[in-house]
């Protein structure tokens, strides 16, 4: 089992969600987060150039069984990239090993519960 965490541009949330649902990955947790990477965000605010130190992003967490890792990652990559080339600020995907997963309703454990 793996936990896939993607930090994406907040404007791409619906595109990613629609693509995931299309690929039959329907379980998802979404949160609003702030952060920055190497992105140099230059915004115009009231005519002045300012460099914001934190940018709004969306974080997606999906727990998957091994067989679904590739399709999930590829779907996110495709949907979250801006244009064909992509641009700074499109985000990152982290994959971490997942030790256990328990469904609260039934007490099921492991791959069944995901």
């Amino acid at each position: 089992m793996k936990l896939i965490t993607a930090i994406i541009n907040e404007n791409k949330l619906d595109q990613v969600r629609e693509a995931l649902i299309e690929a039959e990955i329907t379980r998802i947790t979404v949160s609003r987060v702030s952060g920055h990477g190497r992105q140099r965000g230059e915004n115009i605010y009231r005519g002045q150039k300012i460099v914001p130190n934190l940018l709004p992003k969306v974080r997606i967490d999906i727990g998957v069984n091994e067989a679904f890792v590739d399709i999930t990652v590829n779907t996110i990559l495709e949907a979250a990239k801006s244009g064909d080339e992509g641009s700074v600020g499109d985000g990152k995907i982290f994959i971490t090993p997942l030790e256990e997963c328990i469904r609260i309703r039934t007490n099921e454990r492991g791959g069944e519960a995901i």
Binding site: E10, N11, K12, D14, Q15, E18, R32, V33, S34, P52, N53, L54, P56
Partner: protein, 442 residues
């Protein structure tokens, strides 16, 4: 001493003679009526940010600013148009066979600088009061196609709609020589804009919602409100502002004002109560959105009726309007068109219900006056016929006109925002901003 008095007297006479023309006008100002009309003008404007909050809270987080901008843009665009030609088109004398009015004096409001109306109110106040109605009417339509229209197309749409749909309707119903005002014994009754404002905007909204098509994912995915708290504040502001809308439409400060104010309050409350009860019985939960919808249904229904019904009639109007609007929204969900914020379901249906049902609650004295104007007799059903014709004309004119305007704009600019823009949200794609910024860490 005496000579000084004489001199002062002579000077006074010299200055007073040429001033007497103005002095006579100045005497005619009824400061009570003017003060109330100034207040009403401000109250009706307050409804526009109220509407922005009401609609803004009902859309998704990514569209909140875009939706609020629909209301605010109307404040800018419609005021400018109203000043240049709108007032003249609405309240000038019949031209083009009575289709619109025109009075060169009203062009750019040039000729009303010192004009005082017969009601004792400066004409500036009346024209600005009426201008506020021209703002809120197209802003109401925006609820029907929220979350998916391009901002540029919207701006062009409300400008053309205001000029070609609102101004003629306003002229027919409210100008002294408008043909609906003079129909039947005592005219089609539309005290504060049931046909002009609510039926026209609701029907146009329905046409636009169908023409533009549903939001992406509707009705399969749930599209839930971003901020019900803001919606409730907006509904409250609309209720408060409606006192200017209805009670101000008496263009006086007296008995008619008091009558309109009372029935406005009563109908809004009856509508809200009824909606809660229906919803409680139907779904088991009385929602805040239901209460707000009931307020609006009641207010919309009493808008044409505020000048002619008594409180028991207002109770009935609010109740009936809520029942029918609730059913209309259920029906919408079954049919499946995406009138996103129920511009037609509340304003269109509520306006039609109000304009027709008011006939059965008209106060005695009005019917007596109508009968004597008609040479002895005037029945409720004759008035109902007049009301039905006015409603029918408003529906057909608004629907056909809106369709033509939408068709032309769609060819020129394209009405709908692109799929990518719609998914990203209008705040980002149309305005480059985001609402609810304070949720971000910095």
């Amino acid at each position: 001493m005496y000579r000084q008095f004489k001199l002062v007297f002579v000077i006074c006479v010299i200055f007073l003679i040429p001033l007497s023309a103005f002095a006579q006008d100045a005497i005619n100002i009824d400061s009570g009526a003017t003060a109330w009309m100034l207040t009403s003008t401000a109250l009706v404007l307050l409804m526009v940010p109220g509407l922005a909050m009401f609609y803004g809270g009902l859309v998704r987080t990514k569209n909140v600013l875009g939706t609020m901008m629909h209301s605010f843009a109307a404040m800018g665009i419609m005021t400018v148009l109203w000043t240049v030609v709108g007032y003249s088109m609405s309240f000038g004398e019949n031209i083009l066979g009575g289709w619109i009015g025109w009075n060169p004096e009203y062009f750019l409001l040039k000729g009303i600088d010192e004009s005082i109306m017969a009601a004792g109110v400066p004409e500036y106040v009346f024209s600005m009061f009426q201008g506020k109605f021209a703002i809120i009417t197209p802003a109401l339509i925006a609820g029907a196609f929220a979350e998916r229209i391009s901002f540029k197309a919207y701006c062009l749409f409300i400008a053309l709609w205001g000029l070609l749909i609102y101004n003629p309707l306003c002229h027919w119903v409210w100008a002294a020589d408008g043909f609906l005002l003079n129909m039947g014994a005592a005219g089609a009754i539309d005290f504060a804009g049931g046909t002009v404002v609510h039926i026209s905007s609701g029907v146009s909204g329905l046409v636009a919602a169908i023409y533009i098509g549903a939001r992406r994912g509707y009705p399969k995915t749930t599209i839930s409100p971003s901020n019900m708290v803001m919606t409730m504040m907006g509904a409250g502001l609309l209720w408060v502002g409606w006192f200017g809308f209805n009670a101000g439409s008496s263009i006086s400060s007296g008995l008619a004002t008091a009558q309109a104010l009372t029935v406005t309050q009563v109908s809004a409350a009856a509508g809200a109560m009824t909606w809660l009860i229906i919803e409680g019985l139907h779904t088991g939960k009385a929602t805040a959105l239901g209460f707000a919808s009931g307020i609006l249904a009641g207010l919309v229904a009493v808008t044409p009726a505020a000048g002619v019904v008594q409180p028991y009639g207002a109770l009935a109007l609010g109740t009936i309007a809520s029942i029918i609007c609730y059913s209309a929204i259920l029906l919408k969900n079954r049919i499946g068109y995406d009138d996103s914020l129920d511009a037609f379901g509340i304003h269109g249906i509520g306006g039609i219900v109000g304009a027709l049902v008011l006939t059965f609650f008209i106060r005695e004295s009005w019917m007596t006056a109508a009968a004597s104007a008609n040479g002895g007799s005037w029945s409720v059903w004759q008035q109902f016929g007049v009301q039905a014709i006015a409603v029918g004309i408003a529906i057909v004119y608004a629907a056909v006109g809106t369709f033509i305007i939408l068709f032309i704009i769609n060819k020129l600019l394209g009405l709908r925002s692109s799929d990518a823009d719609e998914m990203a949200g209008l705040d980002h794609s149309e305005h480059g901003e985001r609402g609810y910024g304070m949720l971000n860490a910095n």
